[in-house]
């Protein structure tokens, strides 16, 4: 009986995070036009890269194992997947530490980094749904090149799993970066450096196979390739079903490492937090 009670309690404990996501969706819907604009912003690098590659392919059929159609499909899918999966929890963290809004949150029975991630999740869900027409419009514009993914049921399932785990990895990285604010108050420069590296090392800017060898080696040991690049390659049908599940195991490993790192940073950071701003 006590086990049942414990389970019920745990379920009720998880409900606050689900409610945070729902409330965040309601909040984001009050500024839905902003969501569409941000989705447009997410696609700008992809469209620029498509135009660059169209010029670069003149006379060639393949670059780095990608045909022009595959390359264009790659960038369109990267745009939508990066846009939907890239959480910027670190910015929320940073703002709330700087203006003291974190302070009262620490006296609530919540895990603040998880709440920030849930708030980001609500925003991303809204951005994805509201911005989906932007993606469909771009697919229509590049319809002569766009390859509709024809995948098996297992691959679709694997895609859902690796996209979810990719999102968890990105969110945890964001929360870990956010924890830096507890020491430095202002950490925007650090975020900029990290995300610039990420756009190269995650495969958002260009497929990883096209990176110079040292960068490719670096990208291989960093967690980023398990975020945007991996789900896009699954969607392109370039990863076998066995490789998808192997990849998911690697992702789980990163999730474990980052969960531990976040717990350590949060505990140490709140210990020295000074509750600025009254």
């Amino acid at each position: 009986m006590s086990e049942v009670a414990a389970l019920v309690r745990r379920g009720a404990g998880a409900r606050k995070y689900l409610s945070t996501i729902v409330l965040s969706i309601q909040d984001a819907l009050t500024y839905r036009a902003s969501a569409v604009v941000w989705m447009l912003v997410d696609f700008i690098p992809s469209v620029v890269m498509i135009l660059v590659w169209k010029a670069a392919y003149s006379g060639r059929t393949q670059v780095g194992g990608y045909s022009l159609s595959e390359m264009i499909t790659y960038y369109l899918l990267t745009g939508i997947i990066s846009g939907a999966l890239t959480s910027h929890a670190e910015w929320t963290f940073n703002w709330e530490v700087r203006d003291g809004r974190l302070t009262p949150q620490l006296a609530r029975p919540i895990h603040y980094p998880l709440v920030v991630i849930c708030r980001e999740t609500g925003w991303l869900i809204t951005k994805f749904v509201v911005g989906l027409p932007v993606f469909l419009l771009l697919v229509y514009i590049f319809r002569d090149y766009f390859l509709i993914p024809l995948l098996s049921g297992e691959t679709w399932l694997g895609l859902a799993v690796v996209a979810f785990l990719g999102y968890v990895i990105l969110s945890e990285i964001g929360a870990c970066l956010g924890c830096i604010s507890l020491w430095t108050v202002e950490a925007a420069g650090m975020f900029g450096l990290w995300w610039s590296a990420s756009s190269v090392l995650s495969g958002s800017l260009l497929p990883m196979e096209l990176l110079p060898r040292p960068l490719y080696a670096l990208a291989y040991v960093m967690p980023y390739r398990w975020t945007a690049y991996f789900p896009v390659r699954v969607l392109l049908g370039k990863i076998s079903e066995t490789e998808i599940w192997h990849g998911a195991l690697f992702q789980l490993g990163w999730v474990a490492v980052l969960t531990l790192l976040l717990a350590v940073l949060w505990k140490a950071g709140t210990r020295r937090y000074e509750g600025w701003g009254g």
């Binding site: 009720a12 309601q26 500024y31 302070t103 949150q105 006296a107 609530r108 020295r272 937090y273």
Partner: protein
Amino acid sequence: MTEASPIILAEDLTRVFVTFRKREGLLGSLGSFVHRQATEKVAVDRVSFRIERGELVGFLGPNGAGKTTTLKLLSGILHPTSGTATVLGHVPWRREQAFLRRISIVMGQKNQLWWDLPAQDSFLLNRDVYQIPERRFREKMEELTSLLELGDLTKEPLRKLSLGERMKCELVGSLLHSPAVLFLDEPTIGLDVVTQKRLRDLIREYCRRTGTTTILTSHYIRDIEELCERALIIDSGRIIYDGNLRRLVERHATHKLITVRFERNVPPATVARFGEVAENDGLRATLRVARERVPAAAAQLLHELPVADIAIEDISVEEVIRLLFSEKGNALLREGEGSA
């Protein structure tokens, strides 16, 4: 925790902040870029006190005295540099869920509700955060919105409400889970005097009804005077007085005020013979008179001048506090230390 244990116990609680000082001007900025000069500020200095169940205690002190830092330590927001504290039998800064579910903090300068959404949506989130059963949640919301006279305002986006209305909503949000300990940090800051008074009445009524142990910080003496039987006066991180504010006045007010209304104009020099003149317009005068001289001075005034009306009052709490924070007051306190 036994029934006899205090709800809040602080022993030698100390918090030191380290700040980095930048030297003046551009060269100073460049210098600080290479080498930063660290300085320590003791925000709370060996503070000890105990608070029993159901008490409504006020923390009073000027800006930067250490009131809010003490509150943050007790609510688990900050870790102390040294010392210990227990609240409801928990060490606050361990932030155990069982502890956090039984306390609440309202900060006059910080919104906890969602800015762009109606307050009632934030209340629903609090229902899940504090795991309040649906029926109790509905009853409590009904009770609080009617006590605070909010009506349909909880259905308006928070950003459209006035400061006073927002503060009422913040109070509802923080009381929905019926906290055993309530921390109120400057809840009336920025409000007009009418709204301040209304909010004070509501807080008093709520605490009377529920017996919630409450700590209130304010630099408005009125808040503490009207609400709290007991006040802790903090200055430079140290408690300089712990007790009833009226008793503080009795103990430290060396003067009383005699206000006299005359039947006809009396020359200022004549009035000044009876005490230190605080106000005088010829027909009405207020005199500061040493306590031991009050009966004699009053009798003389009635006997020698054309008095139509006379009133004798203690000097205001505000004036006593001002005195306490002055050099003279510190000397007074040193004399009376340990007797509070």
